[in-house]
């Protein structure tokens, strides 16, 4: 198993499948009366969050606690972080505290890579800038697998602000590793120059792609992007790239609709679509805990364990 989880590209096919298989076992424990596993007893997991993301932090916290780890939340607000302490100094502090794993959410791309150079513990990227969010991709893959029974050969369409999306980057990499065919749909302004090197097809025409999709994943689009002329108006964006009821009908019957959240209802996704039975949005949240348990279990529970090895 890899040492840190910084990018979805860190996971080879075997490792990725091991995470997904382990997540199934973790999910099974959630239905037991005693939900906790003793695996990480005595180990310290730090949630180091430089961005507000209550949902992701809670997901990691729940995962760590179900593995019996001690959890320390180190959030940007009200800590030394906001007083201008450097990431390196924070890393040295966490090192001194004996952090076994640091889950980091940071507005700057690559911050987890820097952190990993300054810490002995495991670093898990919980979203860095516009770079990656590998555990989101893992939980998305887990969700596809549980709904559709496989990932190999699935046609996955990712729609929206690919340029600024860490979810898209991680999903493209992981889905390619797992054998899915990815199509990216976005206005050309919201696709990065250089996207042609990604293992994905690009289209500007959502209606043409939907009938050939097993999964459609809608990305959050910030309304402020229109101020930088990435698109003219919210209305035009929704009309050209939003998933409404009509477009939902164009999907094959078995196809599912995903969204990493938080949603802009009425912008990239219509409320009726978000709440439809095709939508996996709620189960993505619960799957997130299982997948994050699996990641911590595999990265921390193995040979690096202080007590169990």
């Amino acid at each position: 198993m890899i040492r840190h989880l910084l990018s979805a590209a860190d996971l080879g096919r075997d490792d990725a499948l091991l995470v997904l298989d382990t997540a199934i076992e973790m999910a099974a424990t959630a239905s037991r009366s005693v939900k906790k596993l003793p695996t990480l007893r005595g180990r310290t997991v730090v949630n180091l969050f430089y961005e507000d993301s209550t949902r992701t932090r809670i997901s990691f916290e729940a995962a760590a606690k179900r593995l019996s780890a001690d959890v320390i939340n180190f959030s940007a607000k009200g800590s030394s972080v906001s007083k201008g302490e450097s990431l390196k100094d924070t890393a040295l502090t966490l090192q001194a505290m004996g952090a076994d794993a640091v889950v980091i959410r940071h507005p700057e791309s690559g911050a987890p890579y820097r952190l990993a150079q300054w810490l002995d513990g495991v670093v898990i990227n919980a979203g860095d800038g516009t770079h990656e969010h590998p555990t989101q991709a893992l939980l998305d893959a887990y969700t596809m697998r549980s709904r559709l029974g496989r990932i190999d050969g699935l046609r996955v369409t990712i729609v929206g602000d690919v340029l600024h999306s860490r979810v898209a980057r991680s999903n493209v990499l992981l889905l390619d590793t797992l054998g899915a065919e990815v199509t990216l749909v976005a206005p050309p302004t919201l696709l990065p120059v250089g996207v042609e090197a990604w293992p994905a097809t690009v289209s500007y025409d959502l209606d043409a792609v939907l009938p050939k999709s097993d999964v459609v994943m809608m990305l959050r689009v910030q309304r402020e992007r229109m101020n930088d002329s990435y698109f003219p108006t919210q209305r035009e964006y929704s009309r050209r790239y939003g998933l409404d009821v009509r477009r939902l009908g164009a999907l094959p019957e078995h196809a599912i609709v995903m969204h990493p959240g938080p949603m802009n209802r009425g912008m990239e996704i219509a409320p009726q679509v978000a709440d439809s039975p095709r939508s996996t949005i709620v189960e993505q949240v619960s799957n997130g805990v299982s997948v994050r348990m699996a990641v911590m279990y595999l990265l921390l529970g193995g040979s690096g364990s202080k007590e169990n090895s």
């Binding site: 990431l87 690559g110 820097r114 516009t130 990656e132 990065p192």
Partner: protein, 429 residues
């Protein structure tokens, strides 16, 4: 003053020759020279070149003496084989008055290791809004001829035109940091495959090329001298080639790092590889080398940019752009241009000394090593591979992108008007 007899150094790509340095000049050249009382330097196997001239150095003084001072930057320059450096104006306070440029010039004189030629800011405070007193800086003791808002692009086309015109009155030249600001908002690295993968905001080649094209057209229109700083893209080389073909007075520089390194180095997010303009692709590196070889690009300039640990030991997006360059320039140029056969040592002498001295108007530098010339020269060991160690550099800062890299050649002795500033690779201070 010590008299030096340099024995058996190849003059550039030429034959081994003796050089007698006395009273600040090259007193004699020839073979089998002897001079009573002279300190002999066995230069067999070494190459003698005119002392290097750097058109683009950030010495950080006044204002950021925690990163570099005129004195430590001068040490780094001497060790790199330089006898003159042009100190960029983006200090604090900005070198936009006669007072500040004279201060920097005096600090250079006091250090006494290289000639420190201040560059004046074009606009007040580098703000790009109104001209600084360019004439006053030209008439000051610092005798400023080159003006630049480097660090910022002078984006306003009308102001750029006026600056180009105005400095003609005193033989000045405008050096532009070509970066269209609207196209590089928040830019972190070269825009392309790597930036897409790394999720870092792209700095597109067109942002450089569009400004160079505009400025070349302006320089042609008003008959003024334009110098393009740190050319970094293949497209820029083409535009400069075209501008020169028109007969316009356009010159250009390339940095050592743009001749050797590519944007793939951003992959680990270590900001030691963050620089502005950013590292580009291997294709760009190839075009820059060719442009330097065929003379489209006139000079190698370091853009030596010291930064403190705090400004580099952080997230990529929070780090300041810039790299050390003075002490490694010759080695990198040897790797990129000599080892590849693109330039010989005469070519290196031209691109690192003669051409930059001419552009900067430094008449005592960049001269042929012949009798009567000022004794500004460097002895290079062309076959002395060495490994760059950040801790061994003379700069206060440590932000070299070459740490651990093996370079094929290094300067072993530097003379400023006959004074040895470096002997046996060691600073004489």
């Amino acid at each position: 003053m010590t008299t030096y007899l340099i024995q058996g150094a190849a003059i550039g790509a030429g034959a081994p020759t003796d050089l007698l340095l006395r009273d600040g000049v090259i007193a004699e050249t020839g073979t089998g020279l002897s001079a009573a009382g002279a300190e002999r330097i066995d230069a067999g196997g070494l190459v003698a070149l005119p002392g290097f001239v750097d058109l683009h150095t950030h010495l950080r003084q006044p204002g950021r003496e925690d990163a570099e001072t005129v004195e430590t930057g001068s040490m780094a320059a001497a060790l790199g084989g330089y006898t003159a450096v042009c100190a960029m104006a983006n200090t604090d306070p900005v070198a936009d008055t006669a007072g500040v440029v004279e201060q920097v010039w005096r600090l250079g004189q006091e250090a006494g290791l290289v000639d420190v030629q201040p560059v004046g800011a074009i606009t007040v405070g580098l703000a790009g809004e109104r001209l600084a007193e360019l004439g006053a800086m030209a008439e000051s003791a610092a005798r400023v001829r080159m003006f630049s808002d480097d660090g910022h692009c002078l984006a306003d086309p009308a102001l750029m035109r006026r600056a180009l015109e105005y400095v003609k009155a005193f033989g000045g030249i405008i050096a532009q940091h070509a970066e269209e600001p609207r196209l590089t908002q928040g830019a972190q690295m070269n825009e392309g495959v790597q930036s897409a993968r790394l999720g870092l905001t792209g700095w597109p080649a067109v942002a450089e090329e569009a400004i160079i094209a505009r400025d070349a057209l302006l320089a042609g229109h008003v008959g003024s001298r334009l110098h393009v700083c740190h050319v970094s893209t293949a497209g820029s080389v083409e535009i400069i080639r075209w501008a020169k073909s028109k007969g316009w007075q356009v010159t250009a520089e390339v940095t050592p790092h743009h001749l050797l390194l590519t944007d793939e180095l951003a992959g680990g997010y270590d900001p030691v590889f963050k620089v502005n303009p950013p590292l580009r692709t291997a294709e760009d590196v190839g075009a820059l080398r060719e442009g330097l070889a065929d003379g489209t690009i006139d000079v190698v300039a370091t853009d030596h940019a010291p930064h403190t640990r705090e400004d580099k030991e952080c997230e990529w997006g929070c780090a300041r752009p810039g790299m050390l360059g003075l002490e490694t320039a010759l080695g990198v140029v040897a790797e990129a241009m000599i080892s590849t056969g693109l330039l010989d040592w005469d070519g290196v002498a031209d691109r690192m000394s003669t051409a930059p001295a001419r552009i900067a108007g430094l008449s005592g530098h960049g001269r042929r090593l012949e009798t009567g010339a000022p004794a500004n020269l460097v002895l290079v060991d062309p076959a002395a591979p060495w490994t760059v160690r950040a801790d061994e550099l003379a700069s206060i800062s440590r932000n070299t992108p070459y740490a651990g890299l093996r370079l094929p050649a290094r300067p072993v002795a530097t003379f400023l008007r006959g004074h040895a500033t470096v002997l046996d690779g060691k600073g004489q201070w």
